[in-house]
Assembly symmetry: C2
Homo-oligomer: 291 residues x 2
Amino acid sequence: MTRIGFIGIGVMGQSMAGHLMDAGHELRVYNRTALKCESLVARGAKLMSGAGETAAESDAVFTIIGFPKDVEEAYLGPGGIVESAKPGTLLVDMTTSSPALARRIYGAAKARGLGSCDAPVTGGDRGAREATLSIMAGGDEEDFERALPMLRLMGKNIARFGGAGCGQLAKLANQIVIAGTMMGVCEGLSFAKGAGLDPGKFLECVEGGSAGSWSLSNYGPRILKGDFEPGFFVKHFIKDMKLAAESSEEIGMELDGLSAALAQYEKLAASGGEENGTQGLFKLYDSMLKN
Amino acid sequence: MTRIGFIGIGVMGQSMAGHLMDAGHELRVYNRTALKCESLVARGAKLMSGAGETAAESDAVFTIIGFPKDVEEAYLGPGGIVESAKPGTLLVDMTTSSPALARRIYGAAKARGLGSCDAPVTGGDRGAREATLSIMAGGDEEDFERALPMLRLMGKNIARFGGAGCGQLAKLANQIVIAGTMMGVCEGLSFAKGAGLDPGKFLECVEGGSAGSWSLSNYGPRILKGDFEPGFFVKHFIKDMKLAAESSEEIGMELDGLSAALAQYEKLAASGGEENGTQGLFKLYDSMLKN
């Protein structure tokens, strides 16, 4: 049994922290909007009032929070996690965030005798609920090995890709694949509709073939029902694609597909689709048909 | 038993015509390079010396040939299929070709009392071999119904999307989905490699998740082995994307993902990758890393 601090009790964190509790770990939880901690607290988690305070009372700290600036503040800000954790504490950031920030956190953590991993995930709310997330980790081998039994309570495909930041780089590569795929899915379905075909019949005919993808099978039916509710928020996907674009520039790559997808999603956000799920991109193309 | 003329005995046509023979139909075959007809002829197919001659001796004619200009010549050229077929003959073009051309062939065919369907396929050489192709058809309901028992010998997911040209439109929508997906797959894998990650480990970690697709699972392993042999030729994919771009313009859509993919594949072709398989796009990104 480990005393675990879990910071960021959103849709994902709620399920993930729950799995850690189910395995008998003693949970401390913190979220900016405390209300979201309610059900975990009802099950015995201790409600904390800040990230630093959470870290100070934990042997391992897991975070999954919104944006890199939130991660930076929580870890490196005054009274934050790195400053407050006792030497020997293991820090695991599961937010999709910047590889460079992951390396800075690692450096600061090591200077204080802390363990540190970046370990972003894919699989969405469903993967979190069913503990089938894919987890892409970076950091020292020994820190990863220490985190592994706990990561296994939350996910299935778990791999360490190298030193600090490498988990983030793998996650960004994953988002680059998704960016192209989502653009293809939304353009193809809207073209089918625009060309006067039955999009449902189209989806059924092609999803088992070479155009098939997780995105097509999962978002296709929602798109056809006009359901643009977020599984994965447009605003978060834009954040990820920007990080990916920065990193690809750093290694001298011009990824025109990624650039096109980012531009399209920014157009969608500018027209009010920021709080939609990523399948909302369909609407951008669909609106061309109405003009 | 129907007397079937099969025109275009390439990798796909060879298997498809074979299935029709296996079911007991009497085959006449024609291919510009006659040599490719050898094994079907050895099994009893009659070797013909031209498209018109093939049509004249058949009750149903199937074609799967390279480019729209080849389709136009075979169907509408002097001494071609439409001119030579006896009234009542059913014509089925399975080439991925232009919707407008499909409508012209339909018009010319109907004027001569012929049946006419466009019925392009997806599923590649393997789908052709295993008779699991998806077939997207357009044309009159009664012509489609007449073709259906024969189409069922070649494919599994078979749907009629509307009148003449609608099969082609559905196939183009399919190619639009693939265009985005392939760009995502090749950009993501090359980014992973460029970022210093193990691309094999990356593929294994993410292919079962939300980045997963037929393209990632089928082409990812080939890319990692450096195998760029054609399953589906770059030159044919470029042809398809150009047709899709024309059609999307006609219906007033700007598909930026499709445009980006077409531009990337044209760059690849210009640098000598025309005869590669579509997974060759990886090389375009990979070459950025070497500079």
